[in-house]
Subunit: 337 residues, 4 copies
C-alpha cells in the first residue's frame, strides 16, 4: 500500500497517517518526494483497505501496489514520464539520441565529435570525465578539465551534456556542469550514491548493473525516486552471460518488459552492449524496433586512437549512416527521430 | 587448412592428398560433402603453404581457415547460403516467416492456424508432433498423427512444414512428412543425431542450445554440413541467464555476429526467446531490425487452451498486426516480407 | 498426488484407478515401473484426499507430492537409494571412487591406468569409448574396440566399468560391456535416450547439463525412473557461468541441496568441473566435505600425451595423493573410503 | 614490469626512474605504497630488460609481471600474506573464523551472539551497522549505534570486529570502531571507495561482486593495494548464475585458483553463498577442504526473528556443531582451527 499525500499536506497530517499505520501494527516509510510526500506501508500479511487511509486529512490517494518497486511502477503512475532536459525530451514520441566519445580526451576531440553528432541529429552529447576503469593503471579521465570541455562543446552546439558521476564527493561538481547525470553499471547498487542523487536537481540516467535483474534495477531507481528525484531514465547496456564473442549481451528483452512495468524512459546502449564496432548499428536499430525511448552511442573521430573503448566507437560517418536507418525504424514503430 | 577437391575427384586422387598430409606428420579429416569432398588438415603448429596442395591432381582449392568451424565459415564461402524449400526461400532478400502452434493438437486447430498465418503472409507452418518436455508427465505430442495433420495443412495451404525431429529412430518418418527439420535446443549437441542429419535430404533448422556459445553452435552446424548436408539454418531462441522475468533471454547480439561469421541463414524465435505473449511482437521486430533472415513465431487460435506454450503464443489477429509492422521494418533494413 | 500400486496389481485394478481419476476431471499418468506401477495425478487445482485412492483394490499408497519430480523425490522415498554394482556400492556409507582416463586410447594405457587406480583404492574404472566432441574433426573414441579394452581391464582388476553411452543405437552394445552407463552433460535432456535407459538393466550415472537447473536435472532422472529403471545416480560436473579462468564452475551447492531433495546418490566430477589439473584434488576434497556419495576423477599415465582432456587429468601419483587426503575428509563427515 | 623502490628511496630517485621510463616512450604509474613506492611500467609491446632499472639508484627490484594485477600477484610476492588483526591472524596456518549476525539489532542480540560464537571458537565477530538493502523500504541498519554495540561486544569478548563500510562519508567513523573493514559485493567496483581504502590503516575484507570474474576481483584488490594498503583479504560469497534454488552459487573453484594467483588470504562466506540455513555447514566444510584461509558465517540467537537474512543464519548450537566438524576438516588439509 502506498499512501500519497497531497502536495502541501502539513507535517501534522503526515504524522497522523504514520501514527495510524503504526497503530495497525505495520511499518510506515515516509518517502520524501520532490513535490509531495508518499508513505509506504509494509508488514501487512494480506491486502489492506484503501478506504482506511483515503479519508484521512491531507491524503490524496491510497494505492495497492503489488510490486516491491512502488513509485517507479506503472501501477502507481500510468502515463509515461517524459524528462525535459532544457527543452530536449527523453521519453516522449521522439527517440532521444545521445552520442559522443567514451572519454573526453582533448578540446579538439570533443568539439569535433560534438559538431559531427549534432549535424547527424543527436540532441545529447555523451562523454566521460571521470572513468571507472577495471585497472588502477589505466586512464582515469580528465576530471574537471573534462567537464569544462563538455561545457564548451554544449556552448558551441546546444547539445545537452550527459556525463558520469562516480561518487558523492564529486557529485556537486559534476552536477554543476552536466545536464544529465549518468550512473555507471558498477554503481547501480551504490546505495549511498543513489540516496544523494535523490536530492539533486538533475535528471539521472541509471545504467543496469551487469548482473542486475530487472527487479533489482527498478529497485535501484526506486531509491532515487523515493529520495525525491523523479527525473530518472533507465539505460540497458548489456548483461554478463557465458558468451565471450561479444563484450556483453545487450538484453533487448528488457525494453518491452520495462516499458510495461514502469513509466520511466528506457534507453539502449548498443556500444557497451555488444562491444564490437561493426555490429553497433544493428543493435541500435534493434533497440529502437523493440521500443526504446532513446539510444546512447559511442562516437569518436579516430576510434583507433581512442584512450578507451575505441573498438566499440563509431566514426562520425558510421554514426550518420546509423541515424538514417534509425529514422526509418522509428517511423515503423510510431516514433520519430 | 581445408583442401577442397573438385566435384568429381576420384578416390585415388583423394587418397593421394590424404597420404601427402600424413607424410607431413599431420592429420587428414576427409569430409564427405554432398557434391565434393573436402579434407581438413589439423595438427600443424604454424601456417601451411596452400601451394603444397593446390598442385595435386583433383584439388580445387586449398584454404587457410582460422576458425575451428570451417565449412560453415564465411572464410570458406563468402556468399550467403539461400535454402530453397520447394520454392520458399530462406536466406535471400525476403524475410522468411514461419508461424504456427507449439504443438499440433487437432485437425481443427492446425487447419485454422494454417489458414490464418497463410492469410497474414507466412510461407512456413511450424508445429510440433514430437515434443521434448521437461516432465515425463506432460503432453508429449501426437507423433505420426500430428505429422499427418501437418501434411494435410500443407496440402490445403501450400505452406511448407517445419517440425521437430527428436531422435534418429523417428528421423525417416519425420523426414517423410516435413519440409524443414527442426532440431530443438536440447538436442543441439546430440552428435549422433547431427551426424545422421548430415545424410538427410532435408533442410535443417538448428536451434541454439540454451547455454551454447556462438562457437559451439557453429560447430554443431559444422557437424551436419561436414557429414554432407549443406542445407542448414541457425535459429536463435533465447539463452539461459540469471534473469527470471523472461523465460529465456533472446540474444539478438547473435544475429549480426553470426551473419559476419557464417554464410548460413539466421532465424529468430521471439516466442521462446522472451516467452511472454505481449512482448513477442517487439522482439520479432527487433530481430528483423538486427538483420535476421527469418522469424519463427508461435500462433494459436486459442492460446489460453493450448496444450503447451499458450502463454507465449500470439492469436491470429496479433500475428497479423505483427506482420504489418514487420513489413515496414524489413523495408528499413533493405529486405522485404 | 502419486498413486502407487501394489507390486502385482492387475491391469483391471490399474484401469479402475485411472478411470476414477478421469471421472474426477483429472489426468492420469501411468508410470511403468520395474516392479510396480505408479499413477501420477495432475490437473488438480487444490490438494487431493489420499483416502479417495488408498481404499481402491490394488493400491499400495497414495502420496501427496509437492515437487514436479515425484519418483526421485525424498517425499516419496525417504531412505537413501544405494546402487549395487556387482558388489561395489554407490550411495552407502562408503564414498565410491571412479577413476580413469577421459578416452580409452590403447591397451597399454587403459591397463596401466586401471592397475594404478585400483592400487590407490578406486572401485570403478571410468573411460570413454564413444566421445562427444565439440568438433567433428576431433578424436571420436575407439568405439567397440574401446569397450573391449575396458572389459579386459575389468577382468584383470575387478574394477567396475563406467562408460558413456551417446545414443539409442549403441545402447545395447555399450550395455553389454559396461557396469554403469554414463549419460553425458549434453545428453541430459535427450528424452528419447532417457526413455530407453528406463528399460535397461544397468545403473545410470546421469551428468548434469551445463545449464540445467537442479529441478530440470531431477526431472531428467524422473524420466529414467518413471520408465522403469530405479538405478540412477546424479553427477555434478560443473555448470556454465561467466567465469572463464575455470573450464566450468563446479557447483558444490548442488550436493547438499540434492541430498535433501532426492534419495538418489550424488557424485562429483572435479575434473570437468574445474578443468585444471592442479586444482582437481582441492575440488574433490571439497566435494566429499560437502556430502557427495562419490567422486569421478580423470587419471592418465601421461596426461601431456592424452588424446583428450589431458590438461585436467591427474597422474597416478597425484591420484594416490588425493586418495590419502580424501580418506581423512571422508572420516570427518562420517563416511569411509 | 614493476619497478620496486627501496623503502626510503628519495623523491629524486623516484623521479629519475619515472623520467627514464618516459624517455623510453612508455608510461610510468607511481604506486604510493605504505612502506615503499612501486612504479608500474605499461605501454611496452614486448618484454623489458629488468637490468635497465635495477642499476638505478633507489631501486630494490624490477619484476616482470605477466598478469594485469601486479601487486597482489604471486609473481610479485611468493609468500602468503598474513593479516595481523590485533593478534588474531588471517592467512596463516590457523583457519580464521568470523561469525555473528547479519545486522546488529540490539545490545542483547549482539552480546548474546558474541559470547556464543566466542565460546564455540570464533576469533572475529561479524555484524552489519550499515546495511546495503535492495529496497529503500527495508531496514538499513543501526548506523553508529550499531558500531558502538559491536565495540561493546569486543570489549566483553576480545573478538575482533568485522563490519561493512558502504561509502567514503562513513569510512572514518567505521574505521574508528572496526578491526576489519568489510566491502560488500555491490561495492566491489566502487573505485572511489577502493582508492580511499588504500589510505586507511585497517585490514580490508573485499567481497566478490556477484558477477565479477576472478580477474576483475583481483583488479579491485589491486586498487586498494596500489593506493597503499597491503592488508587485504578476499571473500568469496557466491556468484550469480541461472540456478534459483540457492540464493547465490558459492563458487569454491575460486579458492584454489586464487590461492595460486595471489598471496592474499581467501575467505569463504557459505551463508550468503548458498543462502539456506540447513546447507550452510556443508558449504563451510567444503570451503575449508578446498583450501580457504577463513570462513565468515551468519549466526543469530533467534534466526526466525532476524531483521535480515534469518533464513541463512545458524543458531549458536548449529554453529558449534559446524565448528567441531570444521576442526577435523582443517586437520585433514594441514591447517588448524
Amino acid at each position: 500500500m502506498l499512501v500519497v499525500m497531497k502536495p502541501h499536506a502539513s507535517q501534522a497530517e503526515i504524522d497522523a497517517v504514520v501514527g495510524k499505520i503504526r497503530e495497525m501494527g505495520l511499518q510506515a516509510h515516509t518517502i520524501p518526494g520532490a513535490q509531495r510526500v508518499a508513505i509506504g506501508v509494509t508488514g501487512n500479511k494480506g491486502g489492506l483497505d484503501p478506504g482506511q487511509f483515503e479519508t484521512l486529512p491531507g491524503v490524496a490517494d491510497a494505492i495497492r501496489v503489488s510490486q516491491p518497486f512502488k513509485l517507479v511502477s506503472r501501477e502507481v503512475k500510468e502515463e509515461d514520464t517524459i524528462l525535459d532536459v532544457g527543452g530536449a525530451k527523453l521519453g516522449g514520441p521522439e527517440i532521444a539520441v545521445m552520442a559522443g566519445p567514451c572519454s573526453v580526451e582533448s578540446k579538439e576531440q570533443i568539439l569535433e565529435t560534438a559538431h559531427a553528432v549534432k549535424a547527424a541529429g543527436a540532441k545529447f552529447l555523451r562523454g566521460g570525465a571521470f572513468k571507472p576503469r577495471t585497472s588502477p593503471y589505466e586512464f582515469q579521465g580528465l576530471a574537471e578539465q573534462g567537464l569544462k570541455l563538455l561545457a564548451l562543446a554544449r556552448e558551441q552546439t546546444g547539445l545537452k551534456v550527459v556525463t558520469e558521476v562516480m561518487d558523492v564527493e564529486s557529485l556537486p561538481m559534476v552536477a554543476d556542469y552536466a545536464d544529465v547525470l549518468q550512473i555507471g553499471a558498477r554503481n547501480m547498487q551504490n546505495y549511498s550514491l543513489l540516496k544523494q542523487l535523490g536530492q539533486v536537481k538533475r535528471p539521472i540516467l541509471l545504467k543496469r548493473g551487469p548482473s542486475a535483474t530487472l527487479k533489482e534495477w527498478l529497485m535501484a531507481a526506486e531509491y532515487v525516486v523515493s529520495y525525491g528525484n523523479y527525473q530518472v531514465a533507465l539505460c540497458e547496456r548489456g548483461i554478463r552471460t557465458f558468451e565471450t564473442m561479444t563484450r556483453n549481451t545487450l538484453d533487448l528483452n528488457a525494453v518491452p518488459v520495462l516499458k510495461a512495468l514502469t513509466h520511466l524512459p528506457v534507453v539502449v546502449d548498443p556500444s557497451h552492449g555488444i562491444g564490437l564496432r561493426k555490429h553497433v548499428a544493428a543493435m541500435a536499430r534493434a533497440g529502437i524496433a523493440a521500443g526504446a525511448d532513446g539510444i546512447i552511442v559511442e562516437v569518436h573521430p579516430h576510434p583507433d586512437k581512442a584512450l578507451s573503448d575505441g573498438h566499440q566507437s563509431l566514426t562520425p560517418d558510421e554514426f550518420e549512416g546509423l541515424m538514417r536507418q534509425a529514422r526509418v525504424i522509428a517511423g515503423a514503430v510510431g516514433r520519430q527521430l
